[in-house]
């Protein structure tokens, strides 16, 4: 029942309220002395360089494509894995075929150098 998700709703409300109150209070009560260094975007402690609006490398896209295509497999793996013992050999063979076909793509990408960063 959707009503079972009520605790999650309560948590969402509390989290949003906490974030809003904490940010509002600190911006209202805290002292403010802006300097050039303080206004710089935070890049994990590194001094920022260049514009954020330049084009990124195609390598990121290829990594994302590999991720998405292997990510989809969980849709099919997860329900299968829950029922793995009841399905016996039949289920194993079917999933074997599924994985084997995808493995061809994996080997292809590997041979093509898709996993090399440079």
């Amino acid at each position: 029942m959707p009503i079972d998700y009520l605790p999650i709703l309560v948590m969402v409300v509390v989290v949003v309220a906490f974030a809003a109150i904490a940010l509002t209070l600190s911006s209202l009560t805290g002292p403010r002395h802006p300097t050039a260094a303080k206004l710089e975007p935070y890049e994990s402690g590194m001094p920022p360089f260049g514009s954020a609006r330049r084009r990124i490398s195609i390598k990121y896209y290829l990594t994302a494509v590999l991720f998405i295509l292997f990510d989809i497999e969980i849709i099919f793996f997860y329900p299968w894995a829950v029922l793995f013992r009841q399905l016996k050999l039949f289920g194993l063979v079917e999933m074997g075929v599924f994985v084997l076909i995808l493995l061809i793509g994996y080997v292809y990408v590997w041979r093509k150098g898709g996993f090399n960063w440079d």
Partner: protein, 166 residues
């Protein structure tokens, strides 16, 4: 269970509003990165609607695949093809009025069909052991589509790598 009923309605309307506002932002905002963020908002609203419909597995898949993977892919594609969105040129083409008209006409038709059709309704479906049932159906009734998906993914994998590599 009047309050439960009422809360379900509230959840449905809030989530629908999130989905529709996100979609509206995604198709109207000029800055494409912001439009993609509106798209993510819309995906989240849709995932919530799946929870209201008690299709939890589809909802989780929506979060993992749509929000976690497809949105990232779209954002990467936007960052890879920069240049257009920083210019002042309009992001809508010259036929946007016609497109709006077609959209509204389509909505009128769908609305009419949804309201007037006599749907063969049954008691709302709830399945307690949803995921094992999905697993059983995937390897029996839907065996052929299930195996065809692996071929589709293979083709998509090889195609995307070959097309996108320089």
């Amino acid at each position: 269970m009047l309050t439960s009923q009422f809360l379900t309605y509230v959840a449905f309307f809030v989530l629908s509003a999130i989905a529709l506002i996100g979609a509206f932002l995604a198709v109207t905002l000029r800055n494409l990165v912001r439009a993609a963020l509106g798209l993510i908002l819309s995906f989240m609203g849709v995932a919530g609607i799946y929870f209201v419909l008690e299709a939890e597995f589809v909802a989780i898949v929506q979060v993992i695949i749509y929000i976690g993977a497809i949105s990232v892919l779209i954002l990467f594609a936007i960052m890879l093809t920069r240049g257009l969105m920083t210019s002042a040129a309009s992001t809508q083409n010259s036929q946007w009025i016609g497109a709006a008209f077609v959209g509204m006409l389509m909505f009128a038709v769908l609305f009419f069909v949804a309201i007037t059709t006599n749907w063969p309704l049954a008691q709302p479906h709830t399945i307690s052991d949803l995921i094992p049932r999905l697993g059983a159906d995937l390897v029996t009734t839907y065996l052929l589509p299930f195996e065809a998906v692996s071929l589709l993914l293979l083709a998509a994998l090889i195609g995307a790598i070959v097309i996108a590599r320089e």
